[in-house]
């Protein structure tokens, strides 16, 4: 067959959640990845346990693009409730594997159908009554494997990789895969589809597949977290659950059973952050992890930690708001809120990881930054980054030691003859010295409070002292700008600049390639922290027209960038916003950008 597209397709499985389809999708993903082919998985799942529609999308490109691409080329349809709509989304020329019982009468004629009697096969060919529902999904792994030309040994590898820790499950799953494969052989071998997978080399060498919340948990562990308090919330829960699993493995003395960490499931997000702040105050590296609704509850304690200057790390795996919003969809909607969380003049350090490797790196260094600046550090990931698998180079082992910041020991207090004050700006950088409770010196103690305080931590309502302290806090945060992860710049030389952050990076990378193909070269700055580096304003100054791309309705970072610019530069900025809860695709950048480019500046 001519016109076969090799290693370039989007696969989509439409199933019912709670049916075990995730394992089947993972087997396919692992099988294809092990052929050396780049994969970009995206899960679209409901806020529900069982019975509602769920979709799994696996994008395959020789370039290794990791952004979502709207419509599928190959569809597996196993959900009668969404069948009619799912069919509509398939691109012309696509392949549709579906339950034989679904009607294709008056359906499209620009796709090829592969009807499979899944229910019947499951009944006759799968022996286990208890596993039948789960294993039905493995049948489509075999059919799709045959259709796309995935070698059988790769399918076997996929099964073994997914059930890595359960070798007993290998055979029964592989049997089901083989039933599907054989069905393909007997019925569809002569009905080729327009897509084919062929082994590649040099594309995914040394890459691994990691979820952002796995990376964040590992980063926190390597960053020395010893107290983590959290409250369950999608899409953040898996970060602390991974932390628990990793800690059970690496932080427990096998002989004594002693644990070098405490991970507490708190009664709510207020308590979660409160525990982390209590621990940070007493000198532990402490964290919490949450999502938007939790961030709202944490406003009170965030202000306390900012004003009383207590180190703590807060992970926000963003989901769609406002309110409960769409709990299982992605968004970059908490940036402006987190940046100034709490009443009064509050400012926080916000890290913006754009890759899973940065989820690891920033999770680790957040603890250094929190200790160094004695303030909360927010790490803003999102559902797309946190809960999907991403190809990534292996993470690097940290070479630097912990930076515990300015902490005075009993000996140092003695050396100072007790002449110290908790909020005295000795070094002129706005960062003061602290002591920890339990420091054995009669002059080490001080009183921490969220009410007005002077340089010696004594209560005061003095107007001058209040203003002086607030000015120092502003100076402290100002000084963090160049100490935080700096923006990444890629400037081949264009008058058009793109500014983006976080998980939007994947779509920007693809959009830039597409734009270059159509003759528009672009420069790119990826913002990685707030308060933002001066490099952002400099980047703006070097360009004529700039597009801030982000996944929220209000252009939150577009606004924040404009605040950093001199008035004559502000007009250069344009805003591209995507906010339907799905990960942004490249077309959502290229299309509006080309339209806006057509408008004179």
């Amino acid at each position: 067959m001519s016109n076969v597209r090799v290693n370039a397709l989007t696969f989509q499985a439409a199933t019912v959640n709670g049916s075990g389809s995730q394992s089947a999708n993972m087997v396919l993903t692992r099988a294809i990845f092990s052929m050396g082919i780049p994969v970009a998985p995206k899960n679209v799942f409901p806020s529900n346990i069982e019975g509602l529609p769920t979709w799994y999308q696996l994008r395959i490109t020789p370039e290794g693009y990791m952004a979502r691409k709207g419509d599928p080329d190959v569809l597996v349809a196993l959900n009668p409730a969404t069948w009619a709509n799912d069919l509509k989304t398939v691109r012309p020329g696509g392949a549709v594997v579906h339950e034989e019982a679904y009607s294709t009468a008056d359906a499209r004629d620009d796709v090829t159908y592969y009807p499979v009697p899944f229910a019947k096969l499951a009944k006759t060919r799968i022996e286990s009554d208890t596993l039948r529902k789960q294993l039905t999904n493995m049948l489509y792994v075999g059919v799709v494997g045959g259709l796309l030309g995935i070698p059988r040994d790769r399918l076997e590898h996929g099964v073994q990789r997914v059930f890595q820790t359960k070798p007993k499950a290998w055979q029964v799953n592989l049997d089901a895969v083989n039933v599907g494969y054989e069905y393909w052989e007997q019925n569809f071998k002569d009905r080729p589809c327009g897509f084919r997978l062929e082994p590649l080399s040099g594309k995914v060498d040394d890459l691994v597949l990691v979820e952002g919340n796995q990376a964040g948990a590992l980063g926190a562990l390597m960053g020395g977290v010893t107290v983590a308090a959290w409250y369950p919330i999608t899409p953040s829960s898996s970060l602390c659950e991974n932390l628990i699993a990793y800690a059970d493995r690496f932080r427990v003395d096998p002989k004594t059973g002693e644990k070098l960490i405490s991970v507490v499931q708190a009664e709510d997000e207020l308590a979660a952050l409160g525990m982390a702040i209590g621990a940070g105050w007493a000198g532990a590296r402490a964290m919490t992890s949450t999502s938007g609704p939790g961030i709202s509850l944490m406003a009170e304690f965030s202000g306390l930690a900012y004003y009383a200057e207590i180190p703590v790390v807060i992970f926000d795996i963003q989901r769609v708001g406002p309110s409960t919003g769409l709990p299982t969809r992605t968004m970059q909607g908490d940036v402006a809120f987190a940046y100034s969380l709490s009443h009064g003049d509050t400012r926080h350090i916000v890290l913006l990881p754009g890759t899973v490797e940065e989820c690891y790196d920033f999770a680790r260094t957040a603890f250094d930054l929190a200790d160094r600046f004695q303030t909360p550090v927010f790490v803003l990931s999102d559902l797309d980054l946190g809960m999907n698998l991403w190809m990534t180079p292996r993470f690097k082992y940290p070479e630097a030691s912990f930076d515990r910041g300015k902490v005075l020991s009993a000996a140092q207090i003695e050396e100072l003859k007790g002449d110290w004050g908790r909020y005295r700006d000795v070094d002129g950088d706005g960062i003061t010295y602290r002591t920890l409770p339990g420091t054995a010196h009669p002059l080490a103690g001080y009183f921490t409070r969220g009410s007005g305080h002077d340089e010696n931590a004594r209560y005061t309502e003095s107007a001058e002292t209040y203003a002086r302290n607030m000015d120092r806090l502003a100076r402290k945060l100002e000084g963090s700008r160049e100490a935080l992860p700096q923006p990444l710049l890629d400037e081949p030389g264009s008058e058009v600049g793109l500014i983006a952050f976080g998980s939007t990076d994947a779509a920007v990378a693809e959009a830039r390639a597409l734009l270059t193909e159509s003759g528009l070269r672009t420069d790119y700055l990826r913002l990685r922290a707030l308060p933002m580096s001066k490099a952002v304003a400099e980047f703006v100054a070097r360009h004529e027209r700039l597009y801030v791309v982000e996944q929220n309705r209000d252009g939150q970072v577009y606004d924040l960038v404009r605040l950093e610019l001199p008035p004559d530069q502000v007009g250069k900025l344009r805003s591209i916003r995507y906010y339907d809860g799905q990960p942004i695709p490249a077309e959502a950048i290229t299309r509006p950008l080309m339209e806006l480019e057509a408008v004179p500046a």
Partner: protein, 341 residues
Amino acid sequence: MSATLNHIGLGRDAYKGAATTLCAGCGHNSITNHLVKALYELGVEPHQLAKMSGIGCSSKTPAYFVEQAHGFNGVHGRMPALTTGAQLADRRLIMLGVSGDGDTVSIGLGQFMHMVRRNVDCTYIIEDNGTYGLTKGQFSATADVGSVQKKGAVNTFQPIDPCAIALTLGCSFVARSFSGDGKQLVPLIKAAIAHRGMALLDVISPCVTFNDHDGSTKSYSWVKEHDEQIQDVSFIPFFEEIAVDYEPGTAVSVEMHDGSHLVLKKLAEDYDPTDRMRAMRLVEESRAKGQLLTGLLYIDESMADFATTEHLPAERALRDLGEDELRLSRADFDTFMAEFA
């Protein structure tokens, strides 16, 4: 000289704090004085003490004792979370939380209950005056039905009894006392500090400005008339030899974790402080009779505290650990990364 120094060589002055800014005659100031006495007599190392509080008149008081110690005046109703976290960071700290009835039983009720549930090693004092003092006299949730506000308003809602809640949740140390009764309160404070786990002390502490009048059930005169003591409490610290003189069957001696002894000499009731069901019943019965039951209501020295349940090292603080112990080794790290391939 030695008469004025405690067993770790400190004078009483080492346990004093800044001058109080509360109203003259406030019950809270009496509690502060009893705390100073108890801490001094116990010989607590000031630097080992962590004074925690929320918001309100009560929560200001940690500034008024043991100035040498670290203190943390947090946010309203959230002292339990801060205390829990600090305990985990360094379990060797002696956590002393001071809260009020509004701070604990209204805005902080959830955190209070969960702290009890976790049995965090902490002395938790409620300075209970049935009113919001700092915001000038509104009812709190511990005010009794029929209690009259200074401006004449009558409370129509059932009170929440923190001791009853604590008993229901299985709190490992539950006591009630009165700010004006140092004879009872000082040994109870000592025992609470010696106790390893959550020790709740609900101390009725009249508010002289807003709630010390006829019609208030948290006034000096009301408490004095209705106080029913269930036992004579005495505390013998571990560094003193125990020599108690009492008739067999009339007293109970409870041995604490650090070897101290709490001796409870029975008064009116034939009271067993280790019988939780009975304690709950007695608290309810006395409430129905309009009595204020004081003394040690319940104690369980066998329950593991939170840091122990969490399997934390016994003698070391999490906060002191460095990268050599907290990071994966290079070999473990490489193995772990390979698992994602």
